[in-house]
Subunit: 417 residues, 2 copies
């Protein structure tokens, strides 16, 4: 798409965002419910568009996991619609007063939650993101500009068109939900420099997309979902719990960012516990890659290279390292982790406290699986991804993380001396 | 400075930040008090270094306002020291629990305030920023890397050296406060791409510096202090209050970002009020630049060009526009404002509500001067600038705005189904 066309979308989004910022909760909810209903009613059309994408995918030799992510069926469309209905049920974050006080001059100062304004989302193959992201942005009073992956262009186009016209039918302004109907990368490059109209850009997708945006964006960006997560089995760990947590963190859904990639185990319990943990993981089909000491205890493992500690496998592979103790585990995590989710399994109180305090990550767990880092599990409802940066949002991004603040000040003629 | 040297500072800062993150409030406060004391004790050395900078400034023909910003004297050094003492008195934001709940699986989830980590500050001629910024970063548990302007290199070097060794003498880790002892722009260019070690970069200085950082940084940035602020005199405004607020917002300190640059006035009161307001401003030495209608009422004004509406004068100049009413005022502000501070003078309740709601800015005032947008006036204590972006921090940045959050999760073996 041409720069002028994308800027035109930006301008419309900005105009719509001014209206949305003061739209009633009721109107936004009615929009969301209409969007859900429109998805259900127009299933046939969505499925035909999706078939086109799948055919193109097959003929261009798209790998099986990508075809799987691309696939829509009646159940998945119902889930998208259900997600929008559920977003309507969530508390509206806009207008919440986060604090109010009088200053020494008698000014009444209030800190109020307001929408961010215009949010750009660049995503890859999963077409459900089109509806999910649009729903969260609408509920939080933001305009959204969506740019999906080229594999899903037909599915995304029809979903975007259905939901945006359903929203408009309930009074949501034109420009609130817009879709960049283009498969070129140039559009993304324009979007990431459109500071006049974009308040934030959120990339959702693979490493390549995220790095390109981090390197080139001039608009504020929120980086999400890079997860090299660890499970550390401390000296005093309960054996069945350690096995359960390590297995769950690795195998319950290896393609997600909150899955563990590395197992750290205290040298004092490695001989007693590692065989059981390793066996349980291998029985689930996990390929283990260990350091020297781990391989002495469980010789079947492959040798881990330095690169393994810094790799997000997103697959049934796990690196294993025997550490001298808690401090080495913490150092390893703070060196190789991506600041996502980290867990310790321990029965020792002081170790649990030290781990919680010293590990620098969005979510730090004692005796629980890293897989819980998720908006739904945290009780936030839907989410826009897991932020792995420290600025603005850290961890699961729910509706609150899509807002900013505004100071409202009421005076009676005060001037500054 | 070479890239390797700056990365070495980054590495040290990161190591120190891990220690600082769990440092006690007491230790941080003792560091701050020692820094203040060291500034007082070493006044002579600071003044000699400052004299060098002033001499260089004179000989290179630095403009008078820059020399004024560069100048240190005993009083200014005492103020810097007092600022550090006051920062020690502020509440430590680190460790505050922002919420805690049990999820449906019985996990105890807590949301806790933690430091950002490593903060970079790039600033221009005012050497007091060296001490102020270091103090705020230390109190909020962050390491700081400071890069000052070349005009102040001698002053900054000695101040940084005095405060960092004073802090170290109280157990603050080496690397907590570091100064880039270089005047080349290349160092700034390296800093703004040092994603491995920098959690955020805050530019404090002129438009050129900020634009260069916005265009080129790959690290997260907080943009501060761009202020095209407006005062809108509504139809029902009280005349003396309108005069007072307009004059205070423009002339009390024109070089600051919270000063007003444009006066908007409702057409229904323009004939009655504009002459008094214009006269009062001109008596304070303000050059007025008006649109056609304003010039009909007060013919002495220069003609405003389109460019005037988009200019931050930072000087005794003010543009003046007669508007048809509140909505035109809001549109003008949302078009030309920088989202900093905006004021309405009105006696009408509905107009005040509409203005507060519809104006998109960090601080929106009814019947008070825009000049109050300031950490001290808001009751935050010291500040790191006024953020004009919506991500992470908006408005005055106090200690809280220099923190992130961390989720602490305690379980008893939970795994995700």
């Amino acid at each position: 798409m041409l720069k002028e066309q994308i800027y035109e979308l930006g301008k419309k989004a900005r105009t719509a965002s001014r209206i949305l910022a003061t739209a009633s909760t009721r109107m936004k909810n009615e929009g969301l419910i209409a969007m859900a209903e429109a998805l259900r009613v127009n299933k046939g059309e969505i499925l035909s568009a999706n078939r086109l994408d799948l055919e193109n995918g097959h003929s261009t030799g798209l790998p099986e996991p990508m075809l799987e992510r691309l696939l829509l069926n009646e159940k998945r469309i119902d889930e998208m619609a259900y997600g929008l209905d559920k977003t309507a049920d969530l508390k509206d974050p806009v207008g919440e007063v986060l604090g109010a006080w009088k200053n020494r001059q008698g000014l009444e100062i209030g800190r109020t939650r307001v929408p961010l304004g215009v949010i750009g989302i660049v995503y890859e193959s999963r077409p459900n993101v089109t509806a999910d992201a649009a729903g969260l942005c609408l509920k939080s009073g933001n305009s959204v500009i969506l740019k999906g992956g080229k594999e899903a262009i037909n599915s995304n186009r029809i979903i975007a068109s259905i939901i945006s016209s359903a929203a408009r039918s309930r009074g949501i302004p034109e420009g609130a939900i817009q879709f960049i109907d283009s498969t070129d990368r140039e559009s993304t490059a324009i979007l990431m420099k459109m500071n006049e109209y974009l308040d934030v850009l959120i990339p959702r997708g693979g490493k390549g997309l995220k790095e390109a945006i981090q390197q080139n964006a001039t608009v504020p960006v929120i980086m999400t979902g890079m997860g090299i997560c660890h499970v550390f089995i401390d000296e005093t760990a309960d054996m069945p719990m350690a096995v359960n947590i390590a297995v769950n963190a690795k195998v319950s859904r290896p393609s997600t960012c909150n899955s563990a990639e590395t197992l750290l185990i205290h040298e004092k319990c490695a001989e007693a516990l590692l065989p059981s943990v390793a066996k349980a993981l291998e029985e689930k089909g996990v390929e283990l890659r260990g350091d020297e000491r781990a391989r002495t205890i469980w010789p079947g493992m492959k040798r881990a290279s330095m690169e393994d500690w810094a790799t997000e496998y997103l697959d049934l592979i796990m690196s294993v390292k025997v550490v001298k103790g808690l401090e080495e585990a913490v150092d390893h995590i703070n060196t190789y982790g991506t600041g996502h989710s980290e867990a310790i399994v321990t029965e020792n109180y002081s170790s649990s406290s030290r781990f919680l305090e010293a590990v620098d990550a969005a979510a730090v767990y004692v005796n629980a699986s890293t897989r819980f880092t998720d908006g739904g599990e945290f009780g936030f409802g839907a989410e826009m991804g897991i932020s792995t940066q420290k600025l603005h949002a850290r961890g699961p991004m729910g509706l609150e993380q899509l807002t900013s603040v505004k100071y409202i000040i009421r005076g009676h003629g005060q001037i500054r001396g």
